[in-house]
Amino acid sequence: MSVFMDLNVVYSADRSSLRTVIETAAHLGFSAVAINYVFEPTSKKKQEIPTPVKINELIDQLPVVQGRSRPIRVLNRLTVVMSDSSHFRPNAAEYRCFDLLAVQPTSEKLFHAACMLYDVDIICISVTEKLPFFFKRAPINGAIDRGVVFEVSYSAAIRDSTMRRYTITNATCLMESCKGKNVILSSAAEKALELRGPYDVTNLGLLFGLSDGDAKEAVSSTCRAVLLHAETRKTASGIIYTTNSQQEAPGQQEALQEPADCEAPAAKRAKAT
């Protein structure tokens, strides 16, 4: 049995409200949440990519998940809202401090590029406006092959009736093209009262045109696949993972020397592609 995850909780500067959201998520039975930092570049001036606040600074004691004995896992996530192709810079150093990387394309061309080329984990579908383009089969199939997932968030639908129509329209439009595969449902909650329980979210998938099994996967196993995809993004083609080892004892240093030599070229090669 896989665990439930909610990969979108909007970051707010107010620490106590964010903490309540995380506590509520743990109470509802979500084993992992991702704090979402939205970055919306405008063409006029250069803006800074937000830097994530460290989890242990944000919340000192992580609450225990309902029905389990482990504390909740909190991740950082960056969403880049793209209106131009220069807004997404591959290999930017700022992206590396986030666990998950998402883009929200606003035109068909960018959507195609995001599906086929960009090295991201999640493609957000806008739910607050009428879709500016149709989903084509080819880019969506490409994204599914690469393991990139599409995200539909539901809290806009809870807030407002017009948004609910847009959410359901855009979601069903997506489900028709991707047949319910590689879709995640997440909250995008700003307040604790905008979260919903995992079983309710699963059933909400019914309104979005997902089948029973696909809806359940959308909150559990597909989310896990996203996390694993995000980890491989940091490694050399998902095979070798390098970390900075801190000051180790001299005995260990010799043991580590050999693998360190082997993995350096592999990591370099991966960056070049």
């Binding site: 509802l28 309902q66 029905g67 604790a192 009262l193 329980g197 019914l206």
Partner: protein
């Protein structure tokens, strides 16, 4: 003999301020569910929601609601429940949301689940106790839980009093 089949949804009312839970009554919950179904599924949903729908049980202390839906269309009616944002009762609007814990075919299975769930809540409460006395009380409450129906009332009362103390 064939019986009328229905589904029972065991839901938890989540509020930001726990003291407002005591204002809830079953008529307010029923009215809220009916209105939200009418809003999301229109006339068809409202029609489905008239026969066979009722609020069977409401525990205002723990915020547990048991809703009964006809089996034929419970998925449709359930899909409207996430859009509840507030319950209006006694002239006040309580911002809240419903979290479904269990779907059962009979009230009995829901009751069994609820006892297990409440025991779990007591276990979660234990590390958050402030003094030794509270700890002792919760330990006693955990030991006194059992699945027999006779003991159920006693356990529930105890669970509630614990919760009040803990808040």
């Amino acid at each position: 003999m064939v019986r009328v089949k229905s589904r029972y949804l065991l839901c938890e009312v989540n509020v930001s301020d726990r003291s407002s839970l005591l204002l809830l009554d079953d008529r307010a919950v029923a009215a809220t569910v009916k209105s939200v179904v009418a809003r999301t599924h229109g006339d068809y949903g409202a029609a489905m929601c008239t026969i066979g729908f009722s609020v069977k049980y409401l525990n205002a202390h723990t915020g547990i609601v048991l809703l009964r839906f006809p089996k034929r269309c419970y998925r449709l009616l359930w899909s409207a429940l996430p859009f509840i944002t507030s319950i209006e009762t006694r002239g006040q609007k309580i911002p809240c949301f419903l979290n479904c814990l269990h779907v059962g075919g009979t009230i009995r299975t829901c009751q069994k689940f609820l006892i297990r769930y409440n025991t779990q809540q007591l276990h979660r409460m234990l590390p958050r106790c402030k003094n030794e006395e509270e700890k002792q009380q919760i330990r006693k409450a955990i030991l006194s839980c059992s699945l027999t129906i006779g003991k159920r009332e006693a356990f529930e009362d105890e669970a509630e009093s614990e919760e009040d103390e803990d808040e």
